[in-house]
Amino acid sequence: MTDSTHAGFEEEWHQRASDTRPADRAAAEAAARRFYDCAGFLGGMQTVLWANSFPEFARMVRCMDRGLGWHVLYSFLKTSDFVEPDPSGLGAALANALSSFGTLAAEYREADDDDYEDGDHEERDEDDIEYVTVGVSMNGLLPHIYAPKRLAHFQDRLASGKLPAAGMQRAMLDILRQCPAFFPLPGVAILCDNPARITPFGAPDAEVPSTGLTFEFRSGLVERFWHGIRVSEAVARQLSRPNLLTSREILEDFAPEIRARLIADAGAENVARGAGAGAVLEVDDTELRRKLLEAYGPKNLIFDSDVFPKTEKDDFGTLFRIEVPGDEDICVVKVLNATPEPDGTFQDYFLRVPPDVKTAREAVAWTFDMEEDYAPVAQT
């Protein structure tokens, strides 16, 4: 299979992602029937349920699936290779949006005893196949929802005649040519209709392109997604021009996963400096606060006007201590370079040290993995 052929397949699936016409239900159901006929062990397709929106589709799957549907898809997955999730484009956004409903995204693996001891499992089925909901990251792996890169890969494999379950794969592709999601249960196929409208949110003149999409469904439901994260209308409005958000707004106005994404896009150092040390110290999420403090840098932290560190001075330097509510203190030692610069001044530098050091001497000694015996006979 040539690269250009594969690219053509992928492009076709990306274009298909923007289809907002009502699904051709007769064609989709005919393809689903073929899928059941090929699968054999599903007992044939007795009933088709159509969901009018992604959330409705997710609800149906959640209510009706007792594990066998996933088992079928797992068997199906074993016939194919791993494909990385789609990185961008409307098709990827569609897959992310679908996956954000949680139950649609699952990781399959052989269960082992450690998982059961840790309680990290949902249910052991008779074949020891466990499924764990993992969210959006697995969207490229799921065969039953729309993911252009994976679907193009299926086409490649079909064309090369390498698929052991080609009938099922071909039927699955035909289903997804008509609608964005499909879930097979014994006797019952669940299919999802196309959205009636897909529009990017964000002002057209925004300097940073928004990656948000609004899906309007025929049921009247409207759902908004930003980087695959389901958001409210108010949040979508804020995210429509992310370049206008202040650092403080990023830290204070958003849910953790949105905040993490905004910080990743803007850069932790930019956000930390923009917000100021005082605001960073008040971040409730310990992991995030530490990340921002590290990005801020020890010197900037000491001299930020929002922070008033305690200081201890001796012949070896100055030790600064900043108390962080609910976390360990931040200790920074300022050391003078013993050799003067060409203009006669002495350059200083700042090093972070553990919170249990008490003096500048102890702090500098720690930086060389020494204790109270630190006393160089010469230093330059």
């Binding site: 013993a338 930086t367 010469a378 230093q379 330059t380």
Partner: protein, 102 residues
Amino acid sequence: MKTTYRQGDILFISMDAPLHAHENTTGSLEIAQGEVTGHAHVLHAGAIGFDTDWEKRVSRLDLPQGGTLRHDEHAPIDLPPGSYEVRRQREYAYGKSTPADD
């Protein structure tokens, strides 16, 4: 108390026992290259025995005739004859230590 010599972010600790070095050179040996500044700490000596750590950095020195440590941004330091352990400055980051930037 151990006798120590410091040039910027490098510390030399005089060792009580003589070192039986695995490698030898004469003239000069680069002890550390500043990743930020690009300036190196270079030891000049007639005879230099040395060992390296798992990161291939000079970790111990044997200087039977002593030597002089030079760096573009620091005054030189004379090291008397003897054996030395070489330590690099580190920083703290939430339970971990990382090499200090130079």
